[in-house]
């Protein structure tokens, strides 16, 4: 039996004994997690340490595994949206929209341009919220709490926009098959405008504080470097991949939601270290704001949802007075909507990488199989290889710079 099949504690115990016999050096085992302030989520790393240096490690994930794929096989399509919220909960609207687009692709629904633009705005806001957390938490882990608290106010403002659009803040459950549940209110537009006016100043202050800061640079440059080849082999996507110098972005490679209409850059780094990841995320925030401004400026007229009465809930007043509306309402709520027999893979650029939905339907009211391609789960497996031979403090900053979200890791 291979050693790797043992539990990490037992495997490391063997190594500790061998090393002690060999040259008398006492190694130790450090349990980083499952709940530790520096892990930002519930996952555990069992590390074999020689003093401050990490010799080996094993991540044990699954502490918040909630069997989403099993639940999804037993729920009608519109009820699966709440599961996607809880994947990367820092940017739920991207997950929601990704799921609706998967369903729309399977059902063959044409989406009005206006809905696509609205979705772009909300997804880019979500991306900003996601990057605010990751970048500012990197500051916290290198000892700068101020920036975190300062920019967190603006994540709050983004949450207020979500609240105005769908009523929820963190787990948004936003949208419906074919569009949004209601027209965006005046307040929502005003809040977006306010955000776009205030945030650039704040974000450049935040960037100035850290990006040329001696302490921050010394802590992050060269720490947790992932060369391009390794990033590709380990399935990196999103900012982590682009930091390594590969310009793969789903928004550009396979545009969805009319991303081809907007002019934006894909920032890339060079060395794939923590500092590059930080810079790439910061630059992406600027690009996201650019996209939102363009979307607002070009916003087409039109309805806020597609004309698909079989899938889109009718207004409640109609349900009481109109026969057809009542029938559709009943069918949708009971999950009796017709679904073709098909197989779809749809990917969106999530906050931390390519978020894919692989859906197989067999004509029944629930998915036959739904698999979430969670970017975190795939790139987090590189963590042990990255930190091997580095110090513990490097490991902490690497972990936060990779933006590993426990909800997405465990699904």
């Amino acid at each position: 039996m291979s050693d790797l099949l043992l539990t990490p504690e037992n495997r490391f115990q063997k190594q500790i004994e061998e090393r002690l016999k060999k040259d008398g050096v006492e190694l130790s085992v450090l349990n980083l997690g499952p709940t530790h302030p520096a892990t930002h989520g519930i996952f555990q790393n069992i590390l074999l340490m020689d003093g401050e240096t990490i010799l080996d490690g094993e991540g044990t994930v699954g502490y918040i595994h909630r069997a989403f794929e099993k639940i999804a096989e037993n729920r009608p399509f519109y009820q699966i949206n709440v599961l996607t919220d809880r994947l990367n909960y820092c940017s739920s609207p991207i997950n929601n929209t990704g799921w609706w687009m998967t369903v729309e692709k399977a059902l063959g629904i044409e989406i009005p341009k206006r809905v696509q633009y609205l979705r772009v705005i909300i997804m880019e806001l979500a991306r900003i919220a996601d990057h605010i957390i990751c970048s500012s938490v990197m500051g916290v882990d290198t000892g700068a709490l101020t920036g975190f608290l300062y920019v967190m106010q603006y994540r709050e403002k983004i949450y207020e926009i979500y609240e105005e659009i769908c009523g929820a803040r963190l787990t948004t459950n936003m949208g419906r098959i074919g569009g949004f549940e209601r027209e965006w209110s005046e307040t929502a537009w005003r809040k977006i405008d306010e955000f776009l006016n205030e945030f650039p100043g704040v974000w450049s202050e935040f960037e100035n504080m850290l990006s040329r800061n001696r302490i921050f640079m010394d802590r992050t440059i060269g720490a947790g470097a992932v060369p391009a080849e390794m990033a590709m082999s380990y399935g990196f996507t999103g900012p982590n991949l682009r930091a390594a110098g590969i310009d793969y972005d789903v928004r550009v490679a396979q545009p969805y939601c009319s991303y081809e209409d907007f002019d934006f850059d894909v920032p890339v780094g060079q060395n794939g270290d923590c500092y590059d990841r930080f810079c790439v995320r910061n630059a992406e925030v600027w690009e996201s704001m650019k996209i939102i401004r363009q979307a607002i400026a070009k916003m087409p007229e039109g309805p806020y949802h597609a004309d698909v009465p079989e899938y889109y809930l009718p207004p409640k007043e109609d349900v009481y007075q109109n026969m057809e509306a009542l029938i559709y309402h009943f069918k949708i709520v009971m999950g009796e909507i017709p679904v073709p027999n098909t197989e779809v893979y749809h990917a969106v650029e999530g906050g931390n990488g390519e978020l894919g939905f692989y859906l197989i339907t067999n004509g029944s009211r629930v998915p036959y199989r739904l698999h979430f391609r969670r970017p975190c789960f795939i790139y987090y497996q590189a963590f042990n290889e990255i930190v091997k031979g580095r110090s513990l403090s490097d490991a902490i900053i690497t972990l936060s710079s990779m933006n590993v979200i426990a909800g997405e890791l465990d699904c």
């Binding site: 291979s2 790797l4 994930v61 595994h65 069997a67 794929e69 098909t342 390519e354 894919g356």
Partner: protein, 173 residues
């Protein structure tokens, strides 16, 4: 030069003949079935051939088809992506229900490591030559494979939750 699905199909048929069957396009992605004994060889070819060059393993997952015949009840589905020419393909690899196993592709793509462990964890499909073939999300002591269709989602003996009227009875999906 772009790489279209016909070229990929022709190249694969020329090289592997009847080991690759059932070519079809599903929402723009070329999908085909491969012989489960040769999955490693075929994926290696797809990765290393200089025209095909599928450099990125997007996704690995399992699917259970209890209604199919006995030697093809489990499928391992790979999504590969050629970043240079921006083409995706989907590969299905069916294996039998008695001893579901396929070869691991960890030596080609490191990202397969945890994804294959996840597939094993949920479906019990063994990946030969995998360096660490054990469960990942569920606990090691668990004996069943929860994403198989026969595994009930909830404790069927529960009496406190009666929602038959909302369509949730056993075997209705």
């Amino acid at each position: 030069m772009s790489l279209d699905n016909q070229t990929i199909q022709k190249k694969l048929v020329d090289t592997f003949g009847l080991d690759i069957i059932e070519f079809h396009e599903s929402h723009d992605i070329l999908t085909f079935e491969i012989n489960s004994k040769k999955n490693h060889e075929i994926i290696k070819f797809l990765k290393e051939d200089k025209d095909l060059n599928f450099n990125f393993l997007t996704d690995v997952c399992g699917v259970h088809f209890p209604d199919y015949e006995k030697n093809r009840q489990f499928a391992v589905v790979y999504h590969l992506h050629n970043w240079y020419k921006n083409v995706r393909i989907r590969i299905k690899c069916f294996t039998s229900t008695d001893n579901p196993n396929v070869d691991s592709v960890v030596d080609l793509y490191k990202s397969a490591n945890w994804q294959e462990r996840e597939t094993y964890d949920f479906y019990g499909i063994k990946f030969n030559n995998h360096p660490q073939m054990k469960r990942i999300l569920n606990m090691d002591e668990m004996e069943s494979f929860p994403l198989r269709k026969e595994f009930p989602m909830e404790d069927q003996g529960r009496t406190d939750k009666d929602d038959r009227f909302f369509g949730r009875i056993p075997n209705n999906c």
